[in-house]
């Protein structure tokens, strides 16, 4: 039976000799103590104000940043990339949390504070919380979802717990005057699934809110968070720490993942560009410094615009059995960029893109809202 074969395969993999462990218990103790200290601090100093400040880092418009913020430059709000309820822009936030529970603020500069936005009309924002329960918000562009009886079908997307095959179970309290429903995910006809709140934030535009860590979060709390979600308007745009200049073809950004910086810009940590035929992922990272040096000899490493550019092969989980490749390079600010992932025949494109890329360093004041010019 296939199930037995799977078990056997897992066993064989598990029986493989383990390589040297990089796990550090001492590091876990240090990091764990730091988290506990933060938690106690947040509780001690009056969490509502701090939580509000954390949220402000996401939604405050230009010129409203508190003194002493990470960046002196006002957070940019670019009208030209402002999304509408029907067409979300890949360069600006469309929805954001306006309020989160006091004990669950958005944590500054942690790697899991991110939001994703894609051009197909789904936006997800997740707040990292100290108790590991993240609120997930998904807004679908107008026209992307259809309701037939008790079934709401948004047709695509799997990242949100309740964004597909959701079934209305009961009416929920109105969210800002709009009808809302308690919905459950796939299989809920037979099982008590994960509870989500669904509401039409605009006619034809649905939003979902759930908690990744709790199957049945407090109804009162869920409605309160939903009532404070902000859609459209003056939302901050993403900032990019590199700019691609004069790259032949019509390239555009389609899928940024950003990281929330404490009182600072929304750094696009990862994003995808496409010319309609080829899609490339670009990642920029400051938290894991690499050194500007060559790893390996030619053809693995070459010098482009003064940077040592290293070619790497992607993890074994290749698509369609083909190997995939990426390149990375670091600058003197310990920012490093990675471009990928392509099959062997497109490796040259990676070098071409990098040769047109200007790395803007680790100072937010030098970042740009125009990743491609």
């Amino acid at each position: 039976m296939l199930e037995e074969s799977i078990g056997k395969a897992f066993q064989e993999m598990a029986d493989q000799e383990q390589p040297h462990s990089r796990i550090s218990i001492q590091q876990a103790l240090r990091d764990g103590r730091t988290r506990l200290r933060r938690r106690r601090l947040m509780r001690a100093v009056g969490t509502p104000a701090l939580a509000a400040a954390a949220v402000l880092a996401i939604v405050l418009p230009s010129g409203s940043l508190p003194a002493g913020s990470h960046s002196d430059r006002p957070q940019s709000v670019v009208p030209s990339v402002t999304a509408t309820a029907r067409h979300f822009s890949p360069l600006a936030v469309y929805a954001s949390f306006g309020w989160l529970p006091a004990k669950e603020p958005v944590v500054p500069s942690m790697r899991k504070d991110y939001a994703e936005l894609n051009v197909w009309g789904q936006m997800e924002a997740t707040s990292e919380t100290y108790n590991d329960r993240a609120w997930e918000l998904t807004a679908f562009a107008v026209g992307r979802c259809s309701r037939l009886g008790n079934h709401i079908d948004c047709g695509f997307g799997k990242s949100h717990s309740c964004d597909y095959d959701a079934y209305i179970q009961a009416r929920a309290p109105a969210v800002n005057g709009r009808q809302a429903y308690w919905v459950y995910d796939q299989g809920t006809k037979n099982y008590p699934g994960m509870r989500c709140l669904a509401w039409e934030y605009r006619p034809g535009g649905w939003a979902y809110l759930s908690n990744a860590g709790e199957i049945n979060p407090s109804k009162h709390l869920t409605v309160r968070i939903a009532s404070n979600v902000r859609f459209g308007g003056r939302q901050p745009s993403f900032e990019f720490a590199a700019q691609i200049r004069k790259l032949p073809g019509k390239w555009q950004v389609v899928l940024p993942t950003f990281f929330i910086q404490w009182h600072g810009p929304l750094l696009a940590g990862n994003y995808t560009i496409t010319d309609g035929k080829t899609t490339l992922s670009i990642g920029i990272n400051f938290s894991s410094p690499k050194h500007n040096k060559c790893l390996g000899a030619k053809p693995v490493c070459r010098v482009i615009n003064g940077y040592y550019v290293t070619l790497i092969k992607y993890l074994p989980q290749t698509r369609g059995g083909q190997d995939h490749y990426a390149i990375w390079a670091a600058d003197a600010d310990d920012a490093f960029v990675m471009i990928g992932e392509v099959t062997r025949k497109h490796i040259g494109l990676l070098y071409t893109v990098f040769s047109h890329m200007k790395m803007l360093g680790g100072v937010p004041a030098n970042w740009t809202t125009k990743p491609i010019s």
């Binding site: 037995e4 218990i25 876990a28 764990g32 991110y114």
Partner: protein
């Protein structure tokens, strides 16, 4: 109090490190990433140590953290999913297993992370549907559908030999590599 807590935590992690790495490696299909997942998981475990100790089974508790950390990690930075080496690495070293085993491992590695996690919990950890659902934070129905989708994908990938009988399942989450009690397993707190 902190000292005793730390000592207790350190003892527990040291005794479980190998089994946690094994589990994480099955999920990640990569030892480097597996270590990252385990490192993050044990940090969370430390934060929630009092709750973990109060759980019916600390092993089940930490296993849930590892699985959720893996799923969470998959959703974040693209960069961190890439192995950086000094040279172009070759494919994973072939074992002495028959070709079908390699095909099976490759097919499992190619599954979407949530489906792979479901298979690991069901067929490596030997968890019943309800327990797997608790670990994954979803409904039993979703576990069943994820399992069915994964099996279908594997059958397609493996072809006619997919259902060739091979006996054996594996234990999970305990320090010793021995089969556990099976379905009468422990409860689970929030990880």
């Amino acid at each position: 109090m902190t000292d005793s807590r730390d000592a207790e935590f350190a003892d527990f992690v040291a005794s479980r490190e190998a089994s946690l790495r094994r589990l994480a490696n099955l999920l990640c299909q990569d030892w480097h990433r597996a270590d990252d997942v385990v490192q993050a998981a044990i940090t969370k475990l430390y934060v929630h140590w009092p709750r973990a100790r109060a759980a019916d089974s600390i092993d089940a508790y930490v296993r849930a953290i590892v699985v959720r950390e893996f799923l969470e990690e998959r959703r974040s930075s693209w960069i961190r999913r890439v192995t950086l080496t000094g040279q172009l690495p070759d494919r994973p070293a072939a074992s002495t297993d028959p070709e079908t085993a390699l095909d099976m491992q490759a097919a499992i590695a190619a599954l979407p992370p949530r489906q792979r996690a479901t298979l690991v919990l069901r067929f490596y950890c030997d968890l019943p549907v309800e327990r797997a659902a608790q670990v994954l934070g979803c409904t039993p129905g979703t576990v069943k559908s994820q399992t069915a989708k994964a099996l279908t994908s594997l059958r397609i990938a493996l072809g006619p030999d997919a259902d060739a009988a091979r006996v054996g399942t594996a234990p999970c989450g305990s320090p010793a590599v021995t089969r556990r009690g099976g379905h009468g397993e422990e409860g689970l707190g929030h990880a």
